[in-house]
Assembly symmetry: C2
Homo-oligomer: 374 residues x 2
């Protein structure tokens, strides 16, 4: 009898999880509200919202193992499944923490993990008082529903506060120290059901308009910085609960300090290159972890890899162009997500390039990316 793995959410992450779970012998299903969602070509899709408690419960009843690819899934429904004894991983308790960016900062402070100073603010007065403590510029941020840069405003002086509040709404805000970073880093950390932890090599992530554009692996930083980033990431994940893959995002300051920014309890854009570059991909690793299997080797099998996202450049029907030219470059792998509609800056796919050094991988990835349109 095949064992069943249910994934709440069937976007590109669910698609790549399903592609990794099939060879391991699992029958994969996804719960997703969009007909023909990206994962539907390699998983049975149940049409339904991952916010809908009844839909989640019904879906879960058919699964031996359950996980999620989206942290906005209905946390209450997931908690109730867990209380019913479902094999659900990672643990949904932490979703409340993950969803509240301010609570995350407090959590890091409590566990002595370096992060940007942050203050909860409920009014303009409180914003001004927080500014007195941390100085300008600072970031005004929404505590909830903030991703891909939505929910952030840079406040350069007191004169910017009104505009920032207008942009973000007056409620559920916090003030965060502005860290003038020289690099953004990320570490994928995996934990199995026996609490064994294995981490992937540190990567540098490069964002534009707050959207991840490029991942460099290994990150061009010192060995000490790399060890420290790994240590902070593992320390953070050790305080979270459940089996699975977690992505920890960090800043490297001009002074060489590493500061944790945030964590996602799932496979992550900063780990897509692991499909080609690492012995065990983040997707297989997550499947192993949430199904009670042991973790695989996360180490690199190539000297260097670069990932670049293929982002939509217009709105309309998706239409792949330039694939032949891009694939003519050695070391290029292309992953499309099967989205029927393209949109400005929508994640439509990604390119990974492996090479004998980072400069070659980056040059080839950039060339491939320029050739590809969707």
């Amino acid at each position: 009898m095949e064992q069943t793995l249910g994934i709440i959410g069937g976007g590109q992450l669910g698609r790549m999880l399903a592609l990794a779970a099939i060879p391991l012998g699992f029958k994969v299903s996804v719960l997703d509200p969009t007909p023909n969602c990206p994962a539907s070509v390699c998983a049975l899709q149940t049409l339904g919202s991952f916010k809908d408690a009844a839909a989640i419960k019904q879906f879960a009843s058919q699964q031996d193992f359950l996980t999620f690819e989206i942290e906005s899934a209905n946390a209450q429904a997931l908690l109730s499944l867990q209380q019913d004894g479902k094999n659900l991983n990672p643990q949904p308790q932490m979703l409340a923490l993950i969803k509240d960016k301010f609570a995350q900062k407090i959590f890091y402070q409590q566990h002595a993990i370096p992060c940007a100073q942050s203050y909860k603010v409920d009014s303009k007065n409180e914003i001004v008082r927080a500014a007195d403590k941390i100085g300008y510029p600072f970031l005004l941020k929404a505590r909830f529903d903030a991703y891909d840069g939505r929910g952030n405003a840079l406040v350069r002086s007191a004169a910017d506060i009104d505009d920032a509040m207008a942009k973000l709404g007056a409620n559920n805000l916090y003030v965060e120290q502005f860290v003038p970073f020289v690099k953004e880093l990320a570490v994928i950390v995996a934990r199995d059901s026996q609490n064994n932890i294995r981490s992937y090599p540190v990567v540098e992530t490069i964002h534009e308009n707050n959207i991840c554009h490029t991942v460099l692996c290994p990150a061009p930083i010192s060995v000490e910085q790399s060890e420290q980033a790994t240590q902070f990431a593992e320390q953070l994940v050790s305080h979270l609960e459940g089996a699975g893959v977690f992505a920890v995002e960090m800043f490297l300051s001009a002074q060489g300090e590493i500061i944790v920014n945030e964590v996602a309890p799932r496979v992550h854009n900063s780990g897509h290159h692991t499909l080609e570059a690492n012995v065990t991909s983040q997707f297989e690793q997550h499947v192993r972890a949430v199904t009670g299997l042991p973790l695989g080797d996360p180490s690199l099998k190539v000297p260097a890899a670069v990932m670049m996202n293929i982002l939509g450049e217009r709105a309309g029907d998706a239409n792949i162009e330039g694939l032949d030219a891009a694939l003519a470059i050695d070391g290029v792998s292309v992953h499309f997500y099967g989205k029927a509609q393209t949109k400005l800056e929508r994640k439509m796919g990604h390119i990974t390039v492996v090479a004998s050094d980072l400069a070659t991988a980056q040059a080839n990835a950039l060339q491939a990316k320029k050739l590809l349109k969707i």
Copy 2:
């Protein structure tokens, strides 16, 4: 608009082709007579026989690109599709050649490719006369429908001839010189639609009961032998037609000579390790070739890889055991084929192990194989 790729045959080869085609943006379908065939979890299955000309024609009408994973597909139907201008690769003309093992030998001789001396025989008298030329022992072989060792009989002396004929039937036989080989080798050769050729590193294949059990990559042979094997394989494929991946199987004789045994016009068991070990897997390579895309880099990204087949050891419902213990060994990847029923020596899946040297890979693969049951 997604382009469609149709595969005639939906067994494990179709399954792994589909898994490789999905990230490249293709909508994949398979034609296969078995409900819930291995590829059905990642491709749209049309239920139908690959011997049925009408089913093939109907299936083909829905595909932008068409290929096959099984050389016993109806060659006449494929030829007729080709005449209708379908994008079908590789070219079906050669299927007549591939299906006739004696014709293959003549073909090699015509193109000066070293192979075992062979004689067509229509009677016991002709067998005896052939034996006079090549001596005992020799092989009596069926020209058609011979695979995984079926259709071969070793004739040690004239006294064995009657038994061998009884085993193989009296018709369509040929006599083949017995080559006392020290190793069996294989080379996967890919050709794109522009006739560019790229070859994978030579592997050693180890058969038991004429079924592939183990693949060692790279083959533990000399550089000269490896170059010669590659040269013969490319020479052979250059005389075949169409784009795709071809597997050339060879013997290394005790004298160090390389002798071509046979060719398969498709992805092959001797290339399964390329999923983990090579920059471009044989499956992605075949998809690229048959869809008019350029070939990828076939080179290794690990020092060594070993593949072992997971063969059924009993008859009955498939039931995976020992997966957790097998995956606890570093470098182990497991691929199940999703077959509901196991049978003695049926190919149910395979293990690939990557490592820093062949001995480690082989030891780890053997250990994993002993732990896994299905």
